[in-house]
């Protein structure tokens, strides 16, 4: 069945060459979820579409004709300016895009994920100091939207709220369980409560949260971690973008 979609808010997640001058774009659209479309002649010397605009970070309105797995791009409208970002933030965008391609099934609409993604990109220039935490919140909301949500403020071991001073482990399928004390895989209650409330925790807790979210994501990715975790490691020590 052919389906015609018009003026659909979307972002480009990934582009790969296809045939001589075409490209296959993975789009994140608001009402149709992740879709793959062929952009005919995109890589030709005189492309039909604005080449410079069809890239990650640029808010777009796209039209396509869908047929089965792969649609064909028929119209692209540029909405506003692309986000101006630093190289560090760019790496976070590459990370996010891989995460979305890996976790979202094609043609499965998640308008809230789209809005959260758009919001996060919009916040990037301001989010520098707290970028890591903004990513953690996005990951938490993404998992919740996909049905893997966890209540980070509720301890299943004691059936009581998580305590600031306690230590916990997080089971990816079930949730939070109290443990005896600090140790391998244990994380402080303060970090969990901050994530649950969406309030920036103390700097030293951010690394704990990143490690914990990574293990959750790894579980839901079926054990095959993201390439971004390996690829985007910095050549010289500074902070990790993902």
């Amino acid at each position: 069945m052919r389906e015609r979609v018009e003026r659909q808010p979307a972002y480009v997640l990934h582009e790969r060459p296809y045939r001589e001058t075409s490209a296959i774009l993975e789009l994140l659209s608001r009402d149709h979820g992740r879709v793959a479309v062929v952009a005919r002649g995109l890589r030709a010397p005189k492309p039909r579409f604005a080449r410079g605009a069809l890239r990650a970070l640029q808010p777009l309105e796209c039209g396509w004709i869908g047929q089965g797995e792969m649609g064909q791009l028929i119209a692209v409208e540029v909405i506003g300016l692309p986000q101006a970002v630093t190289a560090m933030q760019l790496q976070s965008v590459l990370y996010l895009n891989e995460l979305l391609v890996r976790l979202l099934a094609r043609n499965d609409p998640h308008p809230r994920v789209f809005d959260a993604y758009a919001g996060l990109l919009g916040d990037l220039p301001r989010a520098n100091a707290v970028l890591g935490f903004a990513l953690r919140r996005f990951e938490k909301d993404l998992l919740a939207e996909l049905g893997y949500g966890i209540d980070f403020a509720w301890d299943l071991a004691t059936q009581a709220p998580v305590r600031e001073q306690g230590y916990y482990r997080v089971d990816p399928e079930q949730g939070v369980f109290a443990v005896a004390g600090p140790g391998r895989g244990a994380l402080p209650g303060g970090a969990l409560l901050a994530l649950a409330a969406g309030v920036l925790p103390a700097a030293e807790l951010l690394a704990d949260l990143r490690r914990m979210m990574r293990s959750l994501l790894l579980h839901h990715l079926g054990g095959h971690g993201l390439q971004a975790w390996r690829v985007l490691r910095s050549p010289v020590p500074p902070a990790d973008p993902a």
Binding site: L81, A87, L94, Q227, L232, P235
Partner: protein, 200 residues
């Protein structure tokens, strides 16, 4: 679709390794070679085998080369203090043909791209870091494409250069020569405006 010949099926399957070639195209190619051009098929098979066996990578710049060193790296006429990093041999060729650049190259054969599984190891960036550490290079010219992946790669290369105390520069982004401002896409124009240069 299975044909009457297992060999033909195997050929069709083998042709599908080419990018953009699906079952239908592969079938068309196989039938063409067998029906109309058997000498061409033999020549293709011979050249493919030869190329796959004999063509390796230049030890210095990673571009495709039959010898240990490619002619460019082996040439004493090139300035060893300048190193231009490009994504692909076609990019290298474009720069060779368009500019009077007399330095050497490093060909990554890709760009940092998590979704394509390309990281620093795949691009030989550890090798590049060692070369920067040798102290012969004074300027690293980053000529990655102005895509999101290309920009992230440029950032990575800049970090490598800074770490080794080597000056890093990159190609300018701007208005194409002979074009008119009113027809330039907004992103490019915004870049060109932001990166404007002093006159005189």
């Amino acid at each position: 679709m299975a044909t009457a010949s297992p060999l033909l099926d195997a050929l069709i399957e083998a042709l599908r390794v080419l990018p953009g070639v699906g079952a239908k195209s592969a079938q068309r190619m196989a039938f063409h070679l067998l029906e109309r051009d058997r000498p061409g098929a033999l020549k293709l098979a011979h050249q493919l085998a030869l190329a796959a066996e004999k063509i390796g990578h230049c030890r210095r710049c990673r571009t495709f080369s039959e010898g240990e060193l490619c002619p460019l790296c082996a040439s004493p006429a090139r300035d060893a203090a300048l190193l231009c990093v490009v994504e692909s041999p076609t990019d290298q060729l474009a720069i060779e043909q368009a500019t009077g650049y007399r330095g050497r190259y490093f060909v990554m054969l890709g760009r940092l791209s998590p979704l394509d599984g390309l990281g620093p190891e795949e691009l030989g960036l550890d090798q590049l870091a060692r070369r920067l550490g040798e102290g012969e290079i004074r300027e690293l010219i980053v000529a990655t494409n102005p895509t999101v992946e290309g920009e992230a790669t440029a950032h990575y290369l800049a970090q490598l250069a800074r770490h080794a105390g080597v000056r890093a520069s990159r190609l300018a982004h701007g208005v194409p020569l002979g074009s008119e401002l009113e027809f330039i896409d907004r992103g490019t124009l915004a870049h060109a405006f932001g990166g404007r240069l002093d006159l005189i």
